[in-house]
């Protein structure tokens, strides 16, 4: 198989972005944007799929063209293909195609239809660059590029101040992480003399005695990963990012972009293992983030926010897995998570679409009759997320937890990992609970709902611009919207990608684990863990650890689901009573531990104040000093003006005097 085709994977979406951008300019062309975008992403998927078996062991580099080359530093547009890349390409292009397909219907009628697909194409360009990058700088390009697209898509409804603020926040928080990442790249270049992934990894594998600089690299890179993958303490942007259109949340903020951090750590594992503390730190941060975000998700009312926190929590799992040196588990969870989380977001989008932008859990109930397909699709997604036995999420989560527990209970059992494993199990329980809390609330119980106040997406922009509705008064068109848009099922074509995703959410886990596909893929990439498994598999309660963990986590997830069913379906007043009883905790969680407020008070406001102070200093001190210096000649001039008598003869006198003195000087001094 010719690897040359590989390099078109990023550039077809880039071309699509340009074409879609041109489609923006003419109203008639707008409808073309979606097919172009879908086609470009799908062809990427096809190319990747064609190469599924043709990747040489150890990966291959496909050079494309030169980028930055100066003075021994070289970073080019060349692509590195190994099985890990392929997994990521399947996820990115596969989910990308499905989401774009869905969005082609979801976004219909929106004024920014072509703009949306421009950004999505651009995102795929950046994301594929990220996962295919042969060097860290190109990876950084993808890294920042996806950040940009995230910024543009979160701020897609740019007239909404909250969307603009969220977009800004996402970009800036990511930038903080990116700084660490950039510094990490610098340090890699300084220590290994190259930014090429493969060369750096080979060099790292040959490091015998890691110097301080080398052990610092993983920590710097980690910062970037935490920012992009929304881990503590840089997770704050992701919940706000739900301001973007729902397909975007599904694609970028659930399935692909946010997993870039996991991918990066897996990819650079040989560098991360250089420091004995790097991966444990990753694991700790991942574990803490998982439980932290899960607790917040318990008490949120906004569907998308719940999913956002659940994404953060699941990303925490992935970090936990990678940190426990189970890159297979981490990538596996990344893979399955992409299916079920995309599914969940898209079904949430359908609900939102049906209810004219309504997202509040308290304002909807019993929708199962109105939207049966959506209901059961979401049910599948929830099962997978909750880790219900034999769903995709069950296998991947189990693999991670087993790996963590093995580190905790194995030969050189580390209590840290034991604690993390227990934390992970607790999180699994919370996950099952909040996932089904949502589902039961939305689809079960008595049928009652309120339509949304603000008309997201199609509706809002539909009657703002074009479609001949401009002239109608606002109120009239609102009434019309109310009338037309009762809750309804989505068309089949729109549900088609959801069905595919649902199939994946159920079957992908079982297939990938039991065919050994995921393991063989990861183990033959740079993310492979060397050093071998411990000879004696750890045991728990007298059973093989894996088996024991499966049973425990199945039980936990079923327990969580049952509890949710009780509180949020069968006996909702009990839930309300519990909430009243623990009001302070609920308020704390509902307000997300006040992290945003603390950030505002501790970072944003002081910085802004500093800006004000500096500006004052600039004007009042520095500029004043300059003015003061400018006053010196003026003061001298005030003194010297006395000499200017204004009498012509006075000047003549001075001139004659000067001439005489000069002459005498020449005469007596020069001789």
């Amino acid at each position: 198989m010719n690897l040359d085709l590989i390099k078109f994977i990023p550039w077809l979406p880039a071309l699509a972005a340009v074409l879609c951008g041109l489609c923006c300019t003419k109203k008639a062309l707008r409808c073309l944007a979606a097919p172009i975008c879908i086609l470009s992403i799908a062809s990427g998927f096809v190319i990747a799929f064609l190469h599924r078996g043709g990747v040489p062991p150890g990966g291959a580099v496909v050079p494309f063209f030169e980028w930055i080359n100066i003075g021994g530093f070289s970073a080019n547009f060349s692509y590195f293909i190994d099985p890990l890349t392929l997994i990521m390409l399947f996820v990115v292009c596969g989910i990308g195609t499905l989401v774009a397909w869905y969005a082609a219907f979801y976004m219909k009628g929106d004024k920014g239809y072509a703009r949306f697909f421009t950004f999505v194409s651009l995102f795929i360009f950046a994301m594929t660059n990220l996962v295919m990058a042969d060097n860290l700088v190109l990876l950084y390009l993808g890294w920042e590029g996806v950040g940009l697209c995230s910024y543009l898509l979160i701020g897609y409804y740019y007239n909404k101040p909250s969307a603009v603020a969220a977009a800004k926040k996402a970009f800036i928080v990511n930038r903080i992480g990116d700084l660490g990442f950039a510094l990490g790249i610098f340090l890699v270049y300084q220590t290994f003399g190259t930014v090429s992934l493969r060369e750096a990894i080979i060099a790292a594998e040959h490091v015998s005695e890691p110097s301080t600089a080398v052990t610092l690299i993983p920590f710097l890179l980690m910062l970037g990963a935490f920012g992009k993958s929304a881990q503590l303490p840089l997770y704050v942007w992701l919940p706000d990012a739900m301001e973007g259109p729902t397909p975007v949340s599904a694609l970028i903020h659930a399935a692909t972009m946010v997993t870039a951090g996991v991918y990066m750590i897996a990819r650079l594992l040989p560098i991360f293992v250089l420091s004995p503390y790097a991966l444990p730190v990753v694991a700790v941060v991942g574990g803490l983030t998982a439980v932290f975000a899960a607790t917040i998700a318990l008490c949120q009312y906004d569907i998308k926010r719940i999913y956002a926190y659940s994404t953060i929590s699941q990303l925490g799992y992935m970090f936990l897995g990678v940190g426990a040196l189970s890159t297979v588990g981490g990538v596996f969870h990344l893979f399955t998570h992409a299916f079920f989380k995309a599914l969940l977001f898209l079904t949430a989008g359908s609900v939102m679409h049906a209810l004219a932008g309504q997202l509040d859990l308290r304002k909807m109930s019993g929708l199962r009759t109105k939207m049966p397909v959506t209901c059961w699709l979401m049910f599948v997604g929830c099962l997978a997320l909750a880790g219900f036995p034999l769903t995709a999420g069950f296998f991947s989560k189990d693999m991670i937890l087993a790996a963590v527990m093995e580190k905790g209970l194995g030969e050189h059992g580390q209590p840290l990992f034991l604690a993390l494993g227990i934390l992970g199990l607790f999180t699994a329980f919370l996950t099952a609970f909040y996932t089904f809390r949502l589902w039961f609330r939305v689809f079960m119980g008595p049928e009652q709902y309120e339509m949304g106040e603000e008309h997201h997406g199609a509706e809002e922009h539909g009657h703002d611009h074009g479609h001949g509705e401009d002239a109608k008064p606002q109120a009239a068109s609102d009434i019309k919207v109310e009338h037309h848009h009762d809750a309804h099922e989505m068309p089949l074509l729109m549900n088609l990608p959801l069905i595919v995703l649902a199939a994946g959410a159920i079957a992908a886990g079982y297939w990938a684990e039991h065919s050994g596909w995921i393991e063989s893929m990861v183990e033959s990439s740079t993310a492979a863990v060397h050093g071998g498994e411990s000879a004696h598999a750890a045991e728990l309660f007298g059973y093989h650890l894996h088996t024991a963990m499966m049973v425990i986590s199945s039980a936990i997830s079923i327990l969580g689901i049952a509890l949710a069913a009780y509180f949020h379906w069968l006996n909702r007043p009990a839930a309300d009573a519990a909430a009243r009883q623990y009001k302070s905790i609920v308020t704390l969680l509902n307000n997300k531990y006040y992290v945003d407020e603390i950030n505002d008070a501790a970072i944003v406001t002081p910085l802004r104040t500093k800006g004000e102070i500096f500006f004052a200093i600039d004007r009042l001190i520095i500029d004043a000093l300059v003015t003061l210096v400018g006053l010196v000649p003026r003061a001298l001039g005030i003194g010297a003006r006395r000499l200017q008598t204004g009498a012509l003869q006075g000047y003549g006198l001075g001139m004659a005097c000067g001439a005489a003195v000069l002459l005498l000087l020449v005469l007596f001094v020069a001789n």
Partner: protein, 284 residues
């Protein structure tokens, strides 16, 4: 010897100070006497050791001393006279005397040009203006106005002036100072003092002319044929047009500009305090 110059400068300064116009008693005559004595004394002292070898030289020297004395004396009167018209007329004397000096330097053209342009044209303009001002001003006043009768800071002016003079003379009489030593130019003393007793021969001798012209001025030797005796006017004309064409053009431009400027100034109406406002509608 330089001390003689300094002493003469100081005494001359005192003399001039006495002659400056001032209110009250004016020891002008006394000052004049003192000044003449100083000048004479200085010259005597300077010429005491001068060798008079030929009569011609003596006559040339006499001419120099006479014209010089007239020029200096008239100049003193120019600056000490209280009536502007007389000052102007004394200035004519200065011009005439310096023309005489030019003649002793074999610069005939300059001499006549000086008399014609300065004495004839420029000074007449001055007298016109003086008359105009006197007529327009307080014509009925018996005496000349106060600003003509009282000098402004005469002591300071004289002191500075003679300081400058002392400095200038030190330079002029100091063989090592700015003036290059004639010997340094490769000219012998015989060449310097020759012919009819002035500093240089009357006519350029051909060899010297060729040498100097070829080296310094860029005039080829052929052009100054040895048989052709050039007159002063011709030489000045040649020099002017050969070596300073740009300067000549610029001088023309300057004259034109000043002509235009004079016209512009002359037609400018000025706000006069007493004038009715209607007259100020010009381009003042």
């Amino acid at each position: 010897m330089t001390y003689a110059l300094y002493i003469a400068s100081v005494v001359g300064a005192a003399a001039l100070l006495l002659m400056m116009p001032r209110p009250g008693y004016n020891p002008r005559f006394l000052g004049g006497l003192l000044g003449a004595a100083t000048l004479g004394g200085l010259w005597l002292y300077l010429s005491r050791e001068m060798p008079y070898e030929t009569g011609l030289a003596r006559s040339a020297m006499a001419c120099y001393y006479i014209f010089s004395a007239i020029a200096i004396g008239s100049a003193v009167r120019v600056i000490t006279h209280t009536r502007p018209v007389y000052s102007a007329l004394w200035f004519v004397m200065v011009v005439l005397a310096s023309s005489g000096l030019f003649l002793t330097l074999n610069a005939e053209f300059m001499a006549f040009a000086m008399v014609i342009i300065y004495g004839g044209a420029i000074l007449v303009t001055y007298v016109f203006v003086i008359m105009l001002a006197a007529q327009a001003g307080d014509a009925d006043a018996a005496d000349s106005p106060e600003y003509d009768r009282v000098a402004r800071e005469p002591l300071m002016a004289v002191a500075v002036g003679f300081l400058l003079l002392a400095a200038l003379l030190s330079v002029a009489f100091n063989p090592n100072a700015i003036v290059p030593n004639p010997a340094a130019r490769g000219l012998t003393d015989e060449q310097i003092i020759s012919g009819d007793g002035a500093i240089l021969p009357n006519r350029l001798d051909a060899a010297l002319a060729g040498k100097l012209a070829g080296s310094a001025n860029g005039i080829s030797t052929e052009e100054l044929a040895p048989t052709r005796q050039l007159h002063n006017v011709e030489r000045v004309g040649l020099d002017l047009f050969r070596n300073h064409p740009l300067g000549l053009e610029l001088a023309g431009v300057i004259l034109l500009v000043s002509l235009v400027g004079a016209v512009v100034i002359a037609r400018k109406r000025v706000d006069e305090p007493g004038d009715p406002p209607a007259s100020t509608t010009g381009n003042a």
